[in-house]
């Protein structure tokens, strides 16, 4: 059916003199049709609602507090790009609701430390690194939204070496996709554990970036 519609569009468009336009139209039409008719529609279910995220963030903040008390010797590092929202949110909760005075909060970009450089189709794009404090001898908490293969965390552990030698490094993730690790890396603090198969994707949305706090499990 999809092919038939596409074919007739093709025939109709052959009357155009402008070949470039025709090509553009055909491609676009085919793309739209294939999305509706050929491919199965993408299904997604809500993994965590805004309310659940709210509760989990507070729990994670309390767990951090339990281990680090006044945060005098602790720094929080959000991994770019998506871990920064979580890090900022936790920082805000700790400051505003648990009255922690000063928290050193930084962002770490891991692009140049990834192990898949030149392996994909696209050029890896970098993000801003912002760590304007010393990490030497500090308790460092790496923060990312989803822990999947563990390769990003491996890259982050290498990247952080360029800034000094922390006393201890812990890992906090909102979603832990267990059974899918490629490396021996486990979180110290986790929001929710998920058993997702490999062609499923966890999509974390943040109010400040995507309009609402919600986490989906997307089936491709």
């Amino acid at each position: 059916m999809g092919f038939f519609v596409c074919y007739s569009v093709n025939v109709a468009i052959n009357h155009y003199y402008d070949e470039t336009l025709a090509l553009y139209l055909t491609r676009n039409t085919y793309f739209c049709i294939s999305k509706v008719l050929v491919n199965k529609p993408m299904s997604q279910k809500v993994l965590l609602s805004s309310k659940e995220i709210h509760i989990i963030l507070h729990r994670l903040a309390c767990q951090l507090l339990e281990n680090h008390l006044d945060f005098k010797n602790t720094v929080l590092i959000g991994i770019q790009p998506r871990g920064t929202f979580l890090a900022q949110r936790l920082g805000k909760i700790l400051k505003e609701e648990y009255k922690v005075k000063d928290i050193d909060l930084g962002f770490l970009d891991i692009t140049f430390y990834r192990d898949d450089f030149r392996r994909g189709e696209k050029t890896l794009e970098a993000n801003k690194t912002k760590i304007d404090f010393l990490i030497e001898d500090k308790n460092l908490v790496l923060i990312d939204d989803v822990l999947y293969t563990g390769r990003s965390i491996r890259a982050a552990l290498t990247a952080i070496e360029s800034f000094g030698r922390p006393k201890e490094i812990e890992l906090l993730t909102l979603i832990d996709r267990r059974f899918s690790r490629h490396l021996p890396i486990q979180p110290n603090y986790k929001g929710r554990q998920v058993d997702a198969i490999n062609n499923e994707k966890v999509k974390v949305m943040w109010e400040e970036n995507d309009g609402e706090d919600i986490i989906y499990l997307v089936n491709n």
Binding site: F112, Y113, K122, T123, S162
Partner: protein, 308 residues
């Protein structure tokens, strides 16, 4: 954002505006990296780069080498002076011999215009032009624009004058292409003998009076007189050149604004620029050198990511 539209960096002429923006944004990240205590990233640890210099260079060669090392690439250095070229080997043979040692990328400086373009058609490696005769010097133009952007916030709409030996300068040509691409207004200034005919067709204006040119501009890029490329005499004496086209404190004080002074190096102090101007706060000459490493890291990183 995305990836570069070119496979080699042969000249600014072959780039689009979005390529320049991508290089600048990537260079921003590398600038942060080279200001860390450990200035090195492991991105290019499986890439080997040969620096082939058929012409003398200090800054460019060091800057490229440092950029490559900061990206963890393996580096081969080759200078024509100590090579078999003197024994009659051709350029393609020399480069192919180097490439058979599994080299992925070649950074080349050559006295002949178009040498990089020629090479890119005959060998499989990625070529970066580090200056080809009086043709182009793309990384210099990129770092110049990047330094203007850093100092003044933007290149678009700025008035830039390039002063000196335009005729023999690859820096001038690459700069004109880069600045025009980013929407700057460009004038060239120098003795008529050192300004190429028909240069207006590149969209630049010619001004032979230095004081007028400086009064017009936001940025003055001072070029060296390239005596080594001059087969005939283009002006009577160096002293006369300095009197007419040398920038000194006196001429800058006469202007009703503070302009930015740039120089691609090497400086001939007391000829095109006096020491007090070169070392003043108005000059961003050493910032240009620092930015050179970040820009070259960005260019190498972006081109290397397309090697499959």
């Amino acid at each position: 954002m995305g990836e570069l539209s070119v496979k080699h960096l042969l000249g600014i002429k072959y780039l689009h505006e979005k390529d320049i923006q991508l290089i600048f944004e990537t260079a921003d990240h590398f600038k942060e990296v080279i200001n860390r205590s450990i200035k090195k990233v492991p991105s290019l640890r499986d890439i080997t780069i040969a620096n082939i210099f058929f012409e003398n260079s200090t800054r460019t060669k060091l800057s490229f080498e440092l950029a490559e090392k900061r990206l963890s690439a393996d580096v081969l250095n080759f200078s024509a002076a100590q090579s078999s070229l003197k024994k009659g080997e051709t350029l393609i043979d020399t480069v192919n011999n180097i490439l058979s040692m599994k080299v992925d990328m070649v950074v080349m400086r050559h006295p002949n215009p178009g040498a990089g373009i020629f090479l890119s058609k005959h060998v499989s490696a990625v070529i970066i032009n580090a200056g080809d005769g009086a043709h182009e010097h793309p990384t210099q133009a990129l770092l110049d624009s990047y330094s203007i952007r850093e100092k003044l916030g933007d290149v678009s709409g700025k008035n830039v004058v390039i002063v000196g030996d335009i005729l023999h300068s690859r820096v001038a040509l690459s700069n004109i292409f880069a600045l025009k691409l980013q929407g700057a207004n460009v004038k060239v200034c120098g003795p008529k003998t050192l300004i190429p005919k028909h240069i207006e067709s590149l969209g630049v204006k010619v001004e032979t009076n230095l004081e007028k040119a400086l009064q017009w501009c936001d940025v003055a890029n001072m070029l060296r007189v390239q005596n080594e490329r001059m087969d005939i005499s283009y002006f009577p004496t160096t002293r006369e050149y300095t009197q007419q086209y040398g920038v000194n404190r006196g001429i800058l004080d006469k202007l009703d604004k503070e302009i930015v002074i740039m120089h691609p190096g090497p400086i001939n102090r007391g000829v095109e620029i006096t020491s007090d101007v070169a070392d003043s706060d108005q000059s961003i000459i050493l910032n240009q050198v620092e930015n050179g490493v970040a820009i070259r890291m960005a260019v190498i990183y972006l081109l290397a990511s397309k090697i499959k």
